[in-house]
């Protein structure tokens, strides 16, 4: 192994800004997802065809999951959490394609997504409970718990990023080790397991984001 999984592979520079492989892959995924959603949502009709039915199933499924978790109307949270889930599914699974490395397998992408979740907890909390009501949540169940509540906010965002990164990176690593030991056919079960891990991690990341936001708006206990 001549390349540390913790280091970023720099492809080229724009001025002084290094553009890593992760960024290029992420932009490609974003373009593909945006184009697919634009093409798919152009011709929506009341009597849905096959493609539209599939999209509606996915969106309604995500909406029901969020509503079940938060015990309230999912509409304000659907754009963030739905995008997060769909992007993570595509990003985790794109590592299967030859020549593509999953962007979630390097530390930047999970860290950025966890930062988005961290900020959106406060955003939704202030928007739904009001500033005073949201800040009062930090004094529960007891004002002594204030430092621990603040610490919880930071550590759980960190662990959210590390969980996604560790799982996706270790999956790459396991496939790499299997490839180094026996090249032919042996890595395939590991890659199949990697598909499962990618889907489960996308689900877990989205559910945890929903749970954290639910804690921020006071819908569920932390």
């Amino acid at each position: 192994m001549n390349h540390s999984p913790l280091a970023a592979a720099i492809l080229f520079y724009v001025g002084i800004v290094p553009i890593s492989r992760t960024v290029v892959t992420t932009w490609g995924l974003m373009a593909a997802l945006t184009a697919a959603c634009w093409i798919a949502s152009r011709g929506f009709r009341v009597d849905a065809g096959g493609w539209q039915t599939m999209i509606e199933t996915v969106v309604v499924g995500i909406e029901e999951q969020i509503a079940g978790l938060l015990n309230r109307d999912a509409a304000p949270f659907l754009p963030l959490l739905g995008t997060l889930f769909i992007f993570l599914v595509v990003a985790n699974l794109c590592g299967i394609l030859p020549g593509v490395r999953a962007p979630t397998a390097s530390i930047e992408t999970p860290a950025a997504l966890a930062a988005i979740v961290f900020l959106s907890v406060h955003f939704y909390g202030v928007r739904i409970q009001g500033l005073a009501g949201y800040l009062k949540g930090y004094l529960k169940p007891n004002p002594i718990m204030l430092p621990f509540n603040i610490l919880t906010q930071l550590t759980r965002s960190f662990s959210l990023a590390m969980r996604l990164f560790g799982n996706m990176m270790s999956e790459d690593l396991v496939v790499g080790v299997a490839l180094a030991l026996a090249g032919l056919l042996v890595p395939i079960p590991f890659m199949a397991f990697g598909i499962l891990v990618g889907l489960v991690q996308a689900y877990v990341f989205s559910v945890l984001a929903a749970v954290y936001i639910g804690g921020g708006i006071g819908a569920i206990e932390k």
């Binding site: 192994m1 079940g68 560790g166």
Partner: protein
């Protein structure tokens, strides 16, 4: 014993202990969830959702141990 050898042993111990204990913990969590579902099959939906989140939490500990092992092996600041 050189510092490199110590780092390798440390990484092996970290991964070994860090996979045994979360495996035991996940087993206990799944057992409890199975018992819960067997007693109350109508609560299977919310139980399995909570189980998934809990398993992810437990698994994070194993991932932390893997991180420590990788840092020891690839980015060890003392064994240069």
């Amino acid at each position: 014993m050189t510092l490199q050898m110590l780092s390798i042993i440390g990484a092996v111990v970290a991964v070994a202990v860090g996979s045994i204990t979360p495996a035991l913990a996940e087993g206990r969590a799944i057992t409890a969830a199975m018992e819960g579902i067997a007693r109350q099959p109508e609560a299977a939906g919310s139980l399995s959702r909570t189980l998934f989140v809990g398993l992810a939490m437990i698994e994070t500990m194993a991932i932390y141990c893997l991180m420590v092992a990788l840092l020891l092996l690839l980015a060890n600041p003392f064994a240069r």
